[in-house]
């Protein structure tokens, strides 16, 4: 039986799609208010900010796509990330269920 045969699974995916579509708007709003987490505030207070280094930028650095604009990049990242996470988690579920 495919997971898609479960109505609750399809509902869940639909809700997730809405969240993915909202991601660029949230990213824009976070930029507008100068989003900073307590971790970043603590780094600034103790002078650690410059110690941060990027050893692995990732294929999609900072949830963006090089060459693509901010909003489309965030949207593509959200789509790729959700699809990849879904495949990995369900694969893990299959292995653990066996």
């Amino acid at each position: 039986m495919s997971p898609l045969d479960h109505p609750w699974f399809r509902t869940g995916l639909a809700i997730l799609l809405v969240m993915v579509l909202l991601a660029p708007a949230f990213a824009w709003a976070a930029g507008q208010v100068g989003y900073a987490e307590p971790l970043e505030n603590a780094a600034e207070t103790t002078g650690a900010t410059d110690a941060a280094e990027t050893l692995n930028p990732g294929l999609m650095p900072d949830y963006g796509v090089p060459g693509l604009g901010a909003a489309p990049g965030t949207l593509v990242s959200a789509l790729v990330g959700t699809a990849l996470t879904l495949v990995l988690a369900m694969g893990m579920g299959r292995v653990l269920a066996d």
């Binding site: 949230f26 999609m60 579920g93």
Partner: protein, 213 residues
């Protein structure tokens, strides 16, 4: 709460990595064979829900903000062991594909968000669910994320980049997430309530239902 590379001393990162590997191996052994085919898709949905929710940064004006982490949420919906594996998957994808959280410090980020937040959140939920399940879910999200933040703060405060200012880091991160955690708790409670109303059968047996049975 994702620590970038360069923030933790190598010894701190190594200890955290070993602790995470041990905890996840324990979790995998506890889950192995107990996951039913019917609940496997729920694991996928919760993992994706956490990934997507973590992308939605709360745009709170004033310089201090956060996003949903979801450790307690995963623990309540999936049980703590599967919840830990679920959040660890999300944190690993974030680090490897999106550079969100460092590579050397991946073990620390997994420890804080997938181990501490998940198991503390679940313990809080179990302790309070007998009185009120929704309030228990709220407290689990609230105190779970605060515990994860304190764990990160201790690791950072014991590292040279943060000048070993343990007290300062614990204060900033602890108080920050104690306040921001109220939103984490509220989201945890609201979504938990929605899932209970829609599909109570996909949840692990709750303490309340066990007591009633």
């Amino acid at each position: 709460m994702h620590i970038p590379d360069g923030f933790l001393d190598l010894t701190v990162a190594a200890v955290c990595a070993l602790a995470s590997i041990a905890a996840l191996a324990y979790a995998a052994r506890r889950v192995d064979g107990e996951l039913s085919d019917a609940r496997a898709p729920l694991l996928g949905l919760v993992a994706v829900g956490i990934f997507a929710a973590q992308m939605l940064d709360w745009p709170i004006p004033g310089g201090t903000s956060a996003h949903f982490v979801g450790g307690a949420f995963a623990a309540i919906l999936l049980g703590p062991h599967l919840g830990a594996l679920c959040v660890a998957t999300v944190v690993t994808v974030q680090a490897l594909v999106f550079g969100d959280g460092g590579i050397v410090v991946l073990g620390a980020n997994v420890f804080n968000m997938a181990i501490v937040e998940v198991y503390v959140g679940y313990a809080v939920y179990r302790a309070l669910a007998g009185h009120n399940e929704v309030a228990a879910a709220f407290a689990a999200g609230w105190l779970g994320i605060t515990a994860g933040a304190l764990s990160a703060a201790v690791q950072l405060g014991l590292s040279s980049a943060f000048a070993y200012e343990l007290g300062t880091v614990v204060l900033i991160m602890g108080v920050g997430h104690l306040v921001l955690g109220l939103i984490e708790g509220a989201i945890t409670a609201v979504v938990y309530r929605a899932v209970v109303d829609a599909r109570p059968d996909v949840l692990p047996a709750s303490p309340l239902r066990e007591v009633r049975a």
